[in-house]
Amino acid sequence: MATSHCCKDIIERSFGATLRRDNWWVEPLTMVVVLLGFVIYSVWRAFEHANYWGGPYLSPFYSPHFSVDLPRWCSPAFLIIWVPAGFRFTCYYFRKAYYRSFASQPIACGVGKPWKSYSGESKLLLFQNLHRFFLYLAIAFIVVHIYDLVKATRWPVSAAAAYTSPHHAAGPTEFGIGIGTIVILIDVILLTGYVSGCHAFRHLVGGCIDAPSRVFLGRLRHRIWRGVNVFNEHHNMWGWISLAWVGFTDFYIRMVASGTISLEFDRLF
């Protein structure tokens, strides 16, 4: 029997103090790198104010597209990007992710942190409760993205009928599929999967009912609720994949828009 003296790790009072022996810092570090990377990319893209449409494709960062005159400094992305950004920022899953990795509240379970005071979501962060309103807008955006998808299947019949602005062709169009169409299709599916698992959505469709057997349409709403649960169980996965894919979709369309990938190459039939 030997003794070793009381160490700071038992107290967990300083940043990173813990008795955990696993690599607890890997997860928050990854989050920081990935989230920060995405934010930098999307801010840059929003400011770029160019290369956001090409052929029948419109970047999700710039959709819906409004034909209004804006001052030179103002990118049309600013009009709309706050919706998906707000939805993800107030998302129950992403909140967890950035509270941990960016705010160190806590950085990992059972690991010490530097902050002394804490008010959680009770004061400054009360606005997180508005997540449901971003949900309503996000549902509308899915509709818009489906519209974009439909548009992404309309190809000009001749060079003279080519697109002149987003979704605006100079002449008649025909049905066609390009790699971009498929990229957008996957984007729509992933976004729908992500929004379908939203906690606020789950509450809205049936989670707010305690005794569904006694409520009008209760059984049906209960079934929908269960369906939503399937997506909700993997809300984090849907959140990450859809985030990555929406970035990729924009990146791909930028390549098309900038001419790096030609429309001839892109079009499959």
Binding site: A2, R20, Q105, C109, G110
Partner: protein, 249 residues
């Protein structure tokens, strides 16, 4: 049989306590609690530690094993490399009584203050409610809670910030959810959750869910739905307007 090293917290306060090293003969299938018992029987009969069922059903033997909250009776030694020293410390969120036993009385105080079950009148003459399996399954998940308080222990609001007075903690959000989502209950616990439960202090970082030995999805299935219910009542301007217009609630 192999000799394994353990470091166990001994003392009656975290400030003055120390980690004491023991060496124990360990055999096949042994769990951390077995090792603690062996130490008690052979080396330190006054080593304080709570336990009852030794089958993961009573939730008495919670402690931090290598810094992670665990039930000692369900943590197998074979989960750790043989040469690794296993460090056992008392639950962090509660004051130490002695060694591995902590003072968890605050949890019982919190429970006493929770609004109780408020049933609607029975549906059958003999006193039963008409409830279907598919609708009771939701609150039944929360009833799996064995009150081990590992979720309270890991929650940073309690563990680091010690807000026991303002925040009832994950275990009691789960308890509230049992009755709040009970098909036969007619009570409204939203005010209690906001004013006394401190649900706003929870920042849903899910440590509670990660440590729950009963695999209850505390954050997703109990806390977030409760937060949404609280939002319905207090933080939804549309609903507020609707209530004003219809004059209800």
């Amino acid at each position: 049989m192999a000799l394994r090293k353990f470091r166990i917290f001994r003392g009656d306060s975290r400030e003055t306590g120390e980690l004491v090293e023991f060496e124990v003969e360990c055999g096949e299938g042994m769990v951390v609690l077995d090792a603690v018992h062996r130490i008690q029987a052979e080396q330190a009969p006054d080593l304080a530690c709570r336990w009852n069922c030794k089958a993961g059903k009573c939730g008495s033997c919670g402690a931090d094993v290598n810094g992670k909250p665990k039930l000692m009776c369900m943590t197998r030694l074979s989960d750790y490399p043989e040469d690794e020293v296993i460090t056992i410390t008392p639950m962090r969120a509660f004051p130490v009584i002695r060694d591995l036993a902590t003072d968890v009385s605050i949890n019982y105080e919190n429970n006493r203050r929770l609004p109780h079950f408020q049933p609607r009148p029975a549906d059958f003459e003999d006193g039963e409610f008409r409830m279907y399996q598919w609708e009771v399954e939701r609150p039944q998940e929360f009833r799996k809670c064995i009150e081990c308080f590992l979720c309270q222990n890991v929650c940073h609001v309690l563990r680091t910030h010690d807000k026991h007075q303002e925040f009832i903690g994950p275990a009691f959000f789960v308890r509230t959810a049992v009755y709040e989502m009970h098909p036969a209950d007619v009570g409204d616990r939203r005010e209690h959750l906001k004013e006394h439960g401190g649900i706003g202090l929870c920042n849903i970082t899910k440590c509670c869910t990660e440590v729950c030995p009963e695999k209850i999805k505390i954050t997703d299935n109990a806390i977030i739905p409760l937060k949404e219910r609280v939002a319905d009542k207090y933080y939804d301007p549309l609903r507020w307007l609707l209530r004003k217009l219809t004059g209800r609630g």
